[in-house]
Symmetry: C2
Subunit: 583 residues, 2 copies
């Protein structure tokens, strides 16, 4: 049935909605695809729902082709299972929690690992039942602190989440690969550029973890890649190991006065002046005090040492210390630990090692891998207004371990030897993930193996953000006039516009609309009387149907215009040729 | 793609699940269609999801045919709009309420009148935009006190809810009729028996209201219907008006001793003994004290007078006094009101009118319409151990009004003169409803009419319980062996079973499955090796696919068995004829 624009529930807006910052957010509202209901919560209008349904159909087809079976869980879930895995607490304020009339605790699920694990435990008990991959396309909830960018970071969002169940590691690898392949096909069908990057497993636990990032300057993720094929989320990037260098065991570090040099810049200038050197920030060892809050609530101070030309990257630190929360040490922390001389902290002092293995502070000292054995540094002397030079790792101090918290830069080497990396921004549109046995262990999911022995199941988790993908595609496929949908997911295939006051044009447009619809295409027919051609053209550009047919003055002569929304090209053709031209 | 049972995520159970009382609840769990997650909250397994999707497809098709357009709202909605219409409070404990991290109040929507009203207000402003009917198929939430009967009364359920918007009453009538007609087509396509009954508008406000009830002994609704075409929910039934009867203005009521007669039975026996009469319970006027709790929290006592042969019907009383809550008066209520002599309450006493218009008690007295002017009653005398006879309505007392709270019985007359009614049980499967201007007024939805004047929009609300319908169909279509799906919504069209150890049978079954699938039918192929024919047949009966094909010993001779699940008939046919036989 041809959809008539006079009937369609839509209202296009000329002005950008207040508070909308990114293009997709502005255009999806202006073109009448979605309407905000609360911060990060949207209603879907008919146009938006059509696009969403087409994306979901592609996802479903590829899931089925990959052997995954669809199920559906409620959004409202009881607390117990999330308690058992620790996530009831771990999620913190991100979780919408509520109680029922009897005081039972519930949550709006942000993801369903626990529920799927328990469902399989409920139904299956033998290795013969495996492998199994089940999925759902479902509305999820996260109480984001700052919902923003429309659908890109909402508090309610539609996800496809799949979970695989195997009883061997090889089985998990195969299930993981099947989902990974399906994701590649989905993004290819959607015409979305993507990069598969190594991701940190994070709070979810587990081993292999890869993200599908869509490169875009508005992405919230930063990733690195090398020409040689390495790609990783910046949180997952690991610094190539640096071989120990030889050092003079007998030489000694030297303390020197360095008044008013609490920053790296001032320290470098001062050092070059008083030591007559050509030092750079990379020759200094910066020691930063971090405060970790562990899940049990305890607070721990940690000092991290990074080359002075690098900052401690907040996100990398979060991942390095997860599930503990990380923040800079407070004034109170320093007051309680007078050994940490602010601005002059170092792993070595005249009195011996102050931080690290031989230290008596009790504070862990972790260093960047570049602080390899034998490397020599200018660093704090743990005395106010004093630094030391020729402080050698492994000779003058020994850290408690390495840590990946230093910022990553263009030109850093990929850890796999595939060359220098470049940094780019990306938006996470998919995530494939080997959970391993963490959830199955926490919730007791075991099956009998071939030998009749109980074995814990190993799982994978695979997510695609349906609504986020929709927004990302809108973002990518637009110009200053509006949306430009790819044919695969456009709300309609053809947008027929009747212009003028002539019945001949409207009758021909109606006939052509029906003819096009008969070729199994979805047609939107702008049949509005008394609306100017200019307004109709503007609406067509805003709505973004890829192919537009204008039926106007030429109708009496059997002529129509074929308008390609993307290229902007318009061509007059015979109406009788239209169907053939649509291909 | 043929679905293989060896791969399908399902586990059939031989035993009824604990706590399941109704057939559909037991069978849908035993056959692996759904799994409970919490009280009244279920997960959908692949089989259940297939049936649900088919019902939703039928609903969608009929909605689109009726000109309704699909939209989609979040389940999580902010409090404000529900506050504006009073429903944030009115829903009481039925509402799941929660707060976000900033302390904002939210609810899980039990229905979306407010949201739809605001959406239309947001986008539309002219009569030219109307009529409009928009709908969604969406998961809703109600925190039922006693979730029971599986999907029939859950706390999360899928509904199709539609809302119409018009600016004239005639427009509303047309929109209402279009939805009503669509509902009839939906239930006809689903093969569901239904009765359209007049319903009380209830707390939703508004005028015309009809329910689609599916007659079933397990239904929670009681309805009446006459042979002449009257049908009403028992709460909406109204007693035909009874004409006033002539009475002797000079005669007087007589008080008589009636020790130990606090019940109607004891009163009738005693009266017949001491008055030498042939009275029945219908000659007595029973006065029941009810306590109303109004929305503002105030408590009011009301006395209702009904013929002694009828009880006060709790549900009819709820409707009669809505939105106040109704309960029997408590001991404390009686203690505070010594004029109300328990067991001997009447509207008249020697001292004059005790209840009703001329009374000084301040307690309203409402009577059944059968207590018409001129009717004479035996009733309490407001003196302990005493009743009065010949107490005439309109002469000795005057009620404050009529009230429809008396129970309805088989044989009561329909109010439209279409004859006596019979009572039956039904399950509500749909509700169509003229809301009128209540929501539009509360939320300020107005449009400019033809004359450029602002006019308040009038609305309709139309609901169908998708998951409830699924359960009702399962309930209706089952036997002691399992489910028997109608072809329109069966999870698969054909269930092919391979039996024996013979590759010939398995190969033929696989080939036939593919051949049937090629005719655009959904096929489930029981390819499980080493499973006995008895188990396979039992599973087939439990799962309830309407047509079963058994490929076993006859396979070598090209013979298969065609088994009709509903009739139980099995017939041996040539495999080569199978497709033709399926029609």
């Amino acid at each position: 049935m041809v959809t008539r624009l006079s009937h369609l529930f839509v209202r296009t807006l000329r002005e950008d909605p207040a508070g909308a910052e990114v293009t997709s957010h502005k255009l999806l509202i202006r073109a009448g695809y979605i309407r905000p209901q609360a911060a990060g919560i949207f209603a879907w209008l008919p146009l938006g729902l059509r696009v969403k349904a087409k994306i979901e159909k592609i996802v479903r087809e590829e899931m089925e082709a990959a052997g995954a079976q669809e199920v559906h869980f409620p959004a409202l879930m009881p607390r117990e299972a999330y308690e058992a895995t620790g996530r009831w607490e771990e999620y913190g304020d991100l979780l919408f929690r509520l109680q029922d009339r009897k005081g039972g605790d519930y949550l709006l699920a942000p993801t369903h690992e626990e529920a799927f694990t328990l469902l399989v435990k409920d139904l299956y008990s033998s290795y013969k039942d495996l492998p199994l991959t089940i999925y759902q396309i479902q509305d999820k909830y996260r109480d984001e602190a700052r919902p923003r960018a429309g659908l890109l970071r909402g508090r309610e969002f539609t996800m496809k989440d799949a979970y695989s169940f195997d009883y061997t590691d090889a089985g998990l690898d195969a299930s993981y690969q099947a989902q990974r392949d399906a994701y590649e096909r989905i993004f290819q069908r959607l015409g979305m550029e993507y990069v598969i990057v190594q991701a940190d497993a994070g709070a979810m636990g587990g081993s292999r973890s890869e993200e599908f990032l869509h490169p875009t300057p508005i992405g919230e993720d930063t990733f690195v890649r090398s020409a040689g094929g390495y790609a990783a989320n910046v949180e997952a990037y690991t610094t190539p190991a640096i071989a120990a260098v030889a050092f003079d065991a007998d030489a000694a570090p030297v303390i020197f006065d360095s008044p008013n040099t609490p920053t790296i810049d001032t320290l470098v200038s001062h050092s070059n002046a008083v030591l007559d050197g050509e030092y750079t920030a990379a020759d200094t060892l910066k020691n930063v005090v971090l405060a970790l809050t562990h899940l049990d609530g305890t607070r721990e101070l940690v000092v991290v040492g990074v080359p002075g030309d690098r900052e401690v990257d907040e996100k990398r630190a979060e991942v390095a210390f997860a599930p503990a929360e990380v923040e800079p040490a407070s004034d109170a922390d320093f007051e309680k630990n007078p050994l940490l001389v602010r601005g002059y902290i170092g792993p070595w002092s005249e009195t011996g090692a102050v931080l690290g293995e031989e230290s008596a502070t009790g504070i862990r000292y972790l260093v960047d891998p570049r602080v390899a054995e034998g490397t020599s540094w200018i660093t704090g002397a743990n005395i106010d207004q004093k630094h030391a030079h020729s402080v050698v790792a492994g000779r003058d101090f020994a850290a408690d371990g390495f840590v990946e918290v230093a910022g990553v830069r263009d030109g850093d080497e990929a850890p796999d030897g595939s060359g220098p990396v470049t940094i780019a921004r990306g938006m996470e549109i998919g995530h494939v993930f080997q959970l391993g046995r963490k959830y199955a262990e926490a919730l007791g999911l075991k099956v009998l193996d071939e030998n009749g022995k109980l074995t814990t199941v190993t799982m994978g988790s695979y997510g695609i953000g349906v609504t986020r993908i929709l927004a990302a595609i809108a973002e990518l496929n637009s110009d200053d006039k509006g949306l430009i949908w790819p044919e695969t997911i456009a709300p309609f295939d053809v947008h027929v516009i009747a212009t003028g006051k002539d019945d001949v044009a409207f009758d021909l447009a109606a006939q052509l609309s029906a003819d096009i619809e008969a070729t199994r295409r979805d047609v939107l027919f702008d049949d509005r009387p008394k609306v100017s051609p200019g307004v109709k053209f503007g609406d067509a550009e805003l709505l973004g149907v890829p192919t537009i047919v204008i039926v106007g003055r030429g109708a009496a002569d059997g002529q129509v215009e074929l308008w390609d929304r993307r290229s902007g090209e318009r061509e007059t053709i015979a109406a009788s040729e239209l169907i053939a031209r649509l291909g």
